[in-house]
């Protein structure tokens, strides 16, 4: 094994693994402090997330959202952009999906309506990212600041839309009418039932296939197309990109559009997959969770799938903990998420010196 290969194993696998384990260890200490047996809690969490059909369904359903936002953050990151606006882009993307779902002719085939609804999400997500991208590329306003501000703008816009435009007359809650059946993505349990297998009901729907499809697409796009090359080149070295005939300003615009579009897909899972209507804060927390997922998954689609699954476990298992244990609230998930970000992001290379020291004698013996 060459030194390079070994280093990539350390950086790609061992470090993230140790980091996640450390985060869990720290969570264990938090449990001890609040008087909960960490082993007991772990059992509940794992069982709740993976132990039975319904739990697993919920886990995968949460994970689907994290895949979309994780990919969004990762794509931007490869161009050297830190897109904090996944939250807002997911929200406005949902508006795009809802508009298609509400105003399309329900007599059309699902094979036309659903792709159109997905395109609506992609388009609106991209539109919500294009203004910060333009401001970064041509006016020098920092993308972190503008995307954060656009999250707030998105909230305000959506409240206005839901209260004044999309709310059904006479309805007391700010939400849209139900989407026509034709735009509903089938639930996985229904699909299984169609083949004669009965599994427990859960919100898991075919969006998970959409998530897998886009993970593949992002991987192919970034590493196997000339545009992906241009994006990565710009992210690594602006000067070299210009030298190579790449226009970094255009790259910023294009990349942010792709990033926003991916975040806009959260609504596919939440709106046409599960809730079948547009409502307030359906996107809550997934945009920011996506940052952690991308960090943990090292901005690679495979890593993101794994990290999103882990976050799905935390979300579902956390809900189970809240339900089972008296002195644990669902916010424990936020604590765990924070610890994961701390150890995977902030202290990314914590164990590197130790691992390198461990590696030294192996290298010397070669």
């Amino acid at each position: 094994m060459t030194r390079d290969r070994r280093l990539s194993w350390i950086n790609g696998l061992l470090l993230p693994l140790f980091n996640v384990l450390t985060a869990f260890l720290a969570t264990g200490i938090v449990f001890l402090l609040i008087g909960v047996d960490p082993i007991e809690a772990t059992k509940i969490l794992i069982y709740g997330a993976l132990g039975y059909d319904e739990g697993l369904g919920y886990t995968l359903y949460y994970a689907t959202n994290f895949v979309f936002t994780g990919l969004a953050v990762a794509v931007a990151f490869h161009a050297g952009l830190f897109n904090i606006g996944g939250e807002g882009q997911a929200y406005v993307g949902g508006l795009g999906i809802a508009l298609v779902a509400l105003y399309i002719n329900p007599a059309l085939s699902a094979w036309i309506v659903i792709p159109l609804a997905i395109s609506g999400g992609l388009l609106f997500g991209a539109l919500w990212a294009i203004i910060p991208a333009y401001l970064q590329a041509y006016r020098g306003s920092h993308i972190v600041i503008t995307t954060i501000m656009f999250n707030f703008l998105a909230s305000a816009l959506m409240v206005y839309m839901l209260v004044h435009v999309l709310r059904e007359v006479g309805n007391m809650t700010p939400e849209s009418t139900n989407f026509p059946d034709v735009v509903w993505l089938p639930f996985v349990h229904d699909v299984f039932a169609g083949f004669g297998y009965n599994i427990a009901k859960s919100p898991l729907n075919l969006s998970i296939l959409v998530a897998l499809f886009f993970s593949f697409l992002v991987w192919f796009f970034l590493w196997h197309t000339r545009w992906g090359f241009a994006i990565r080149a710009t992210g690594k070295s602006n000067d070299a990109a210009i030298y190579g005939g790449i226009n970094p300003k255009k790259i910023i615009i294009v990349t942010m559009c792709i990033s926003g579009a991916l975040a806009g897909l959260v609504g596919v899972n939440e709106l046409i997959g599960v809730q079948h209507r547009l409502f307030l804060n359906f996107n809550y927390g997934y945009g920011f969770g996506g940052i952690a997922v991308a960090l943990m998954g090292r901005n690679h689609p495979v890593g993101i799938l794994i990290a999103a699954f882990l976050f799905g476990i935390l979300y579902q298992g956390g809900a189970e903990l809240d339900f089972e244990l008296q002195n644990v609230s669902r916010d424990i998930v936020v604590v765990m998420q924070g610890l994961v970000i701390l150890f995977c992001g902030g202290l990314e290379y914590l164990y590197r010196p130790v691992l390198m020291r461990f590696l030294a004698p192996i290298e010397a013996s070669e």
Binding site: A233, S237, Y243, G244, E363
Partner: protein, 518 residues
């Protein structure tokens, strides 16, 4: 009580990284109050050796004595205490701090910064007088020239009580005048009993300034010489282990039609400052046009404009049938498609992408080529195969397209860039600093390749800070000073003195006209 006059003594120092011996039983003794040169190709182990002295690395075995005391350093602080100061190739200065603040950085005593500053001011004034190292103390470092910044680094070392100063490639970033100034400082330091270790691969510097010289090759110390008893040819041979041709034999140029004609160019740099004005010249096929000048006199800006990176403010460039003007700019991509290759001045930041694999760095600028793209699909296997073949053609080592670009030595990185630009058979080549900071073996190889392209009928524009390089491979030389052309000379008739005068724009005006008409 000096029993001996040896400042630093290394006995059988070993240091290896994995299976690679960076230093293999190295012995060295440096006499107090002398200037001791250490030469060797890139990767010969010079920098590792000095890093051991400065406490960045620990030797695996062997003994080190500093002023006759056994010395083991695990961090730079211990080395500083032992009296060793180091001036790195890339300066370790806080750009927006003043000179004074930079000097006390790391040796502030007490909680209040003003006390340290006052103390340092007195001490620095003394040092400046003693060694002739005048620097304005209250100016931010970013406002100083590179030469001045280097003085600050030297002052930093002296302020911390260094009796031995190690300088790593100190003239790499300096103009010839600044280098001369630096050598004058060396002499002054030597007179005051400071020992100087000079790491370089420029043999001319070794010959002109050092008292002793040690040669390293492949981690081993291969020879120690008294400078007065050796010559550049012998040192070059010791460095690379065989005889080298420092003067490349070449045939007469068969120059043909002009392929690039620049008319009255005016160019502003990235910051919008006018760097080039009223520049006109032509580059003909089968000819190398050298552009000489002290760094920062507009050559770099001109190069970027010719490559399409910077727009023109005035004038026009006719190039292979197209005309570039302020109203009709061409971007680097369009110029490449036209047949213009560009080897950038800044290898690390523009030429390659350090984090990318060699095959991806070898793709930069050509990512849209039809041969490697099938629809949307960029065929990586072709990219890799292509990289492998150009690596073989240009003897890039190791021949591994998957290796990270930053893991290649400077010479091999440069060869990879040249391979990328040369192998697509361009008509016009714009080459900046082809051999800066790389070892002699690679220099010879690269210069030969450039001449080969010339003989194949390409028009070549060469910019270099090495006057020797310009003189030895160009056919025609234009000299720039302050953004304008101050002379055009036939290379065969050029001499260093005249070029030097032109570079300083100090030639009597009537002579300037005659030279320009050549």
């Amino acid at each position: 009580m000096d029993q001996s006059n040896i400042a630093i003594e290394l006995i059988d120092v070993d240091k290896h990284f994995g299976a690679v011996y960076a230093n293999d039983k190295v012995n060295l003794s440096v006499k107090t109050g002398t200037i001791h040169g250490i030469v060797g190709e890139n990767g010969a182990g010079k920098s590792t050796l000095m890093s051991i002295l400065y406490g960045f690395y620990q030797a695996d075995s062997g003994r080190i004595k500093v002023f006759d005391k056994d010395f083991i350093s695990t961090n730079s602080r211990q080395s500083i205490e032992a009296g060793i100061g180091m001036v790195h190739q890339h300066f370790m200065l806080v750009e927006n701090f003043t000179v004074l603040e930079n000097v006390i950085l790391g040796s502030e005593d007490g909680a209040l910064i003003s006390e340290s500053l006052d103390k340092a001011r007195i001490e620095l004034t003394r040092l400046a007088q003693e060694y002739g190292l005048e620097v304005e103390l209250d100016v931010a470092v970013e406002e100083l020239s590179v030469g001045m910044q280097q003085r600050v680094e030297i002052l930093k070392g002296l302020y911390k009580g260094a009796k031995v100063l190690i300088l790593d490639e100190p003239t790499g970033v300096l103009t010839p005048q600044e280098s001369d100034e630096l050598f004058r400082i060396f002499e002054a330091l030597k007179k005051q009993g400071v020992t100087i270790i000079l790491i370089t691969h420029k043999l001319r510097e070794i010959m002109s300034i050092t008292d002793y010289v040690s040669v390293m090759r492949a981690g081993k110390m291969v020879a120690h010489r008294q400078t007065s008893e050796t010559n550049p040819e012998e040192l070059a041979e010791l460095m690379i282990g065989r005889k080298v041709l420092l003067n490349i034999v070449r045939t007469e140029a068969k120059s043909g039609d002009p392929l690039l004609v620049a008319n009255n160019l005016e160019i502003h740099n990235e910051q919008g400052i006018k760097r080039v004005s009223e520049v006109s010249f032509e580059a003909r096929s089968g000819e190398i046009l050298g552009i000489a000048g002290v760094t920062g006199n507009g050559q770099g800006t001109l190069l970027k404009a010719l490559a399409g990176i910077l727009p023109l403010s005035k004038g026009s460039i006719e190039i292979l049938g197209e005309t570039i003007s302020p109203k009709r700019p061409l971007n680097p991509q369009e110029l490449r498609n036209l047949g213009v290759a560009h080897v950038p001045e800044d290898r690390q930041r523009m030429g390659i992408i350090s984090d990318f694999s060699a095959s991806e760095s070898a793709l930069l600028g050509y990512q849209n080529d039809k041969e490697i793209n099938q629809g949307v699909w960029l065929k990586r296997s072709l990219v890799k195969a292509n990289c492998e073949s150009i690596m073989e053609a240009f003897d890039v080592r190791p021949t591994n397209p998957d290796l990270k670009s930053s893991n290649f030595s400077g010479g091999n990185q440069q060869k990879l860039i040249l391979a990328r630009e040369f192998e697509r058979d361009p008509e016009v080549l714009i080459i900046g600093q082809p051999t800066r900071g790389i070892d002699i073996g690679a220099i010879e190889f690269i210069r030969k390749r450039i001449i080969k392209m010339r003989d194949a009928g390409k028009a070549i524009i060469l910019i270099s800070v090495e006057l020797e390089e310009i003189m030895s491979i160009s056919d025609r030389i234009i000299v720039m000073c302050d953004g304008e052309i101050t002379g055009t000379v036939d290379a065969a008739k050029a001499d260093e003195a005249t070029l030097g005068m032109m570079m300083a724009n100090a030639l009597p005006s009537d002579k300037k006209i005659t030279e320009a008409q050549l």
